[in-house]
Amino acid sequence: MTELQDAIRIDTSGMHYTPLNRAIRAAVTSGVRRIHLDNIMGQRFIADGLRGNVEIVINGVPGGDLGMFMSGPTCIVYGNCEHAPGNTMDAGTIVIHGNAGDAVAHSMRGGMIFVRDDIGYRGGIHMKQYQEKRPLLIVGGSARAFLGEYMAGGLILVLGRKGRSPLLERGIGSGIHGGKIIIRGDVPDWNLGVGARVDKMTEEERGEINPLIEKFACYFGLDPQPFLTDPYSIITPSSARPFANKYTWEV
């Protein structure tokens, strides 16, 4: 990791999120490149709508919507995350050393999210891509039901690091109409949502995910080896127009 200059440390004990975000913005404006936030305990909206080239190290458990609308910064969380980190995020990186709640990466449009352990329901819901913007969500552990629901673009990768099947639940990719979900191991048909199909991974796809796995392993100091050769399942839309056959016009 590159050495960042001009670091500051903020003790956030008892601090409300609005003054906290104000302090973060002021620091970024004044050229600070790394901000350590100590004693974070449930403050929501950290780095909400924040732009710039800054690394925010979060020690503690941030509240919901970490990095919402964020466009550029990197947030590294030493702790778990509440719901929807990376909500409607535009660019930047979120690295979570722990678990995250529901709707991780909701409507995410760009950037990367790395979660070391598990995520809750509806992870990656309605992620979308456009031109060079292709959001990425990598989950080291497992994900709960409705992973990648309504997904319109981007990539979700679930590694199932803890040895058990990464997805024990149903509704994977229901309503998916773009993008790709890649899950280590087999995904039985009954796990799939409406409009999703499952295929075996091609060598080309392996070539695409292996560098991502290495990056993931590097963030968390893990050995990438076991993940590089295992079989994966690829979940994609069975049609780009899942709702096209539901309607008829009045005249």
Binding site: Y17, T18, N21, R22, R25, R44, F45, D48, G49, R51, G64, D65, M68, F69, M70, S71, H83, A84, N87, T88, D90, A103, H106, S107, R109, R122, I125, H126, K128, Q129, Y130, K133, E149, Y150, A152, G153, G175, H177, G178, A240, R241, P242, F243, A244, N245, K246, Y247, T248, W249, E250, V251
Partner: protein, 502 residues
């Protein structure tokens, strides 16, 4: 084949004595009703949608149009519409999509309300002579003000929330780029800027060419989050969260891939030709607490500088929902009545789900007042506002301002043909086809829309003057200036008005 074809919806005929064979009808009709063969114009009435473009273009008034030229056996219950919907579904087995607003013949409450005027005991006001205050501020108002004295000066201590300042309580509602053309959006944007009011972007992002008007644009965040990034949020004068829409409460939206052309794809930030699906709920809002979270996330992202509105469809318990919204840090609640227009909605929703705006606004206003939180949010009424009298009436029922939609489109030529979903709007409004879009010239259309807003504003001040009211503030919620004409007692109770004669 067992069902056969349904009777013609419209019959077009050309008066051959009048026709000069200029061919304008042929050029003007994107549906292909007309063709010129030899010395005659031939018609195919089957494809006509009654957009009237040909009629408005014909130099000889040679074209006539008749609706339902073929009678069914009349029956009060089994109307032609009901029968044809069954034929359609018997053939396809699908949900019927339809356009524009509610087409069911429900009584219009506005038309059973009458306004008051002064006679003898209190003088009416002549707006020509006296100033009429129509300026409207939307957003939170403080419940009380704190002052302190600094070196003999009185200084306001209360921190005021950002408000939008409108020169007239008439705004233009959210119609997205994609649903309508860029020329249509530009025309509306120029008109609202000219009139000192605002318009909504709809859920379609903000096209670059509208940046010069951004101070008059309310940017929308809907469940699909299309085109939403920090740049978009910062450009808007206010941000509106769309929870629901009056034309189709409870369900999401769906812009078919055919309408996602290169430019639309770029403002929505999705690939060209892909379906833009807005799910029914926001998947980060499953409760009133979650709504608060989204409201605050938007405020936090824009450093608490912008008012945040929340739009809901008018449904049975709108009043309780609005009370929740008022406590969510939102600055205004938009209530969209069941007559609200749309490009496409399932017919069963358009015609059967939701409640009229008149009842919804009155009950929301009453609920907020009874809880002492009316100052926390402004109320914006939308869905079925057709003329200035509707504006006056809905303000008297408790609204702060209105959104118009269809009326603004009609001002640009729309004939309410209800076939926006075909994407071939001959007026260049609900289409992305370049040759059709080019028919709408923003230089003229913006003047037409601005004229409409001016005219309604003038009428509104005349109505107020006649009632002896010189400020819109005194009309707001002033139910005493309304009477119900042949409305039943229950409705009058909801509206909190008296009957005529009382």
């Amino acid at each position: 084949m067992s069902i056969g074809s349904v009777p013609l919806r419209y019959r077009i005929s050309v008066d051959r004595d009048q026709c000069m064979l200029c061919g304008r009808c042929v050029d003007s009709c994107p549906y292909g009703v007309f063709r010129k063969e030899g010395e005659q114009i031939h018609v195919n009435s089957r494809v006509c949608v009654a957009c009237h473009r040909c009629i408005s273009m014909c130099p000889r008034d040679a074209i006539s149009l008749v609706e339902r030229p073929v009678d069914y056996r009349s029956h009060p219950i089994w109307t032609p519409q009901v029968r044809e919907a069954i034929y359609n579904q018997a053939r396809t087995g699908k949900i019927i999509l339809s356009g524009m607003g509610n087409a069911q013949d429900y009584p219009v409450i506005f038309d059973r309300l009458v306004l008051d005027a002064c006679q003898v005991t209190n003088p009416s006001i002549d707006p020509l002579r006296e100033p009429m205050e129509l300026r409207t501020y939307l957003g939170k108002k403080p419940s009380h003000l704190n002052f302190k004295t600094v070196e003999g000066d009185t200084v306001l201590q209360t921190i005021l929330s950002p408000n939008l300042m409108l020169e007239t309580p008439i705004m233009i509602g959210h119609m997205s780029y994609g649903a309508i053309s860029l020329n249509a959006q530009q025309s509306l944007a120029r008109a609202v800027t000219e009139c000192g009011t605002f318009m909504g972007t709809g859920e379609g992002g903000l096209h670059e060419s509208l940046y010069p008007f951004q101070d008059h644009m309310i940017v929308q965040v809907a469940s699909g989050r299309f085109g939403v990034d920090i740049n978009y949020l910062e450009r808007g004068a206010a941000i509106e969260i769309k929870i629901g829409q009056g034309a189709k409460p409870g369900i999401g939206g769906h812009l078919p891939g055919e309408k996602v052309c290169a430019d639309v794809s770029c403002t929505r930030m999705i690939p060209e030709g892909s379906d833009a699906i807005s799910p029914a709920p926001h998947h980060d809002i499953y409760s009133i607490e979650d709504l608060k979270q989204l409201v605050r996330s938007l405020k936090e992202a824009t450093e608490w500088k912008k008012p945040v509105f929340v739009k809901i469809a008018a449904v049975h318990n709108s009043a309780a929902i609005a009370a929740g919204i008022a406590r969510s840090s939102a600055d205004a609640v938009v209530i969209d009545g069941f007559r609200g227009g749309t490009g496409a909605a399932p017919r069963v929703f358009r015609d059967h789900v939701g409640i009229p705006i008149e009842a919804a606004v009155a009950s929301v206003d009453a609920k907020l007042r009874s809880q002492g939180i009316r100052n926390e949010v402004s109320i914006i009424a939308s869905g079925g506002i057709r003329e200035s009298a509707d504006v006056a009436k809905v303000i008297a029922l408790g609204a702060d301002a209105v959104y118009i939609g269809t009326a603004a489109l009609v001002a640009m030529g729309c004939r309410v043909c209800g076939t926006c979903y075909k994407g071939l709007c001959p007026w260049g409004i609900a289409t992305q086809r370049p040759d059709l879009v080019a028919r709408l010239d923003p230089d003229y259309a913006s003047v037409n829309v601005a004229n409409l807003i001016h005219a309604w504003t003038l009428e509104l001040s005349e109505l107020m003057g006649a009632a002896g009211i010189n400020s819109i503030e005194s009309l707001r919620g002033n139910r005493d200036r309304l009477r119900g004409y042949l409305l039943d007692e229950n409705i009058m109770k909801v509206l909190d008005i008296k009957t005529v004669g009382a």
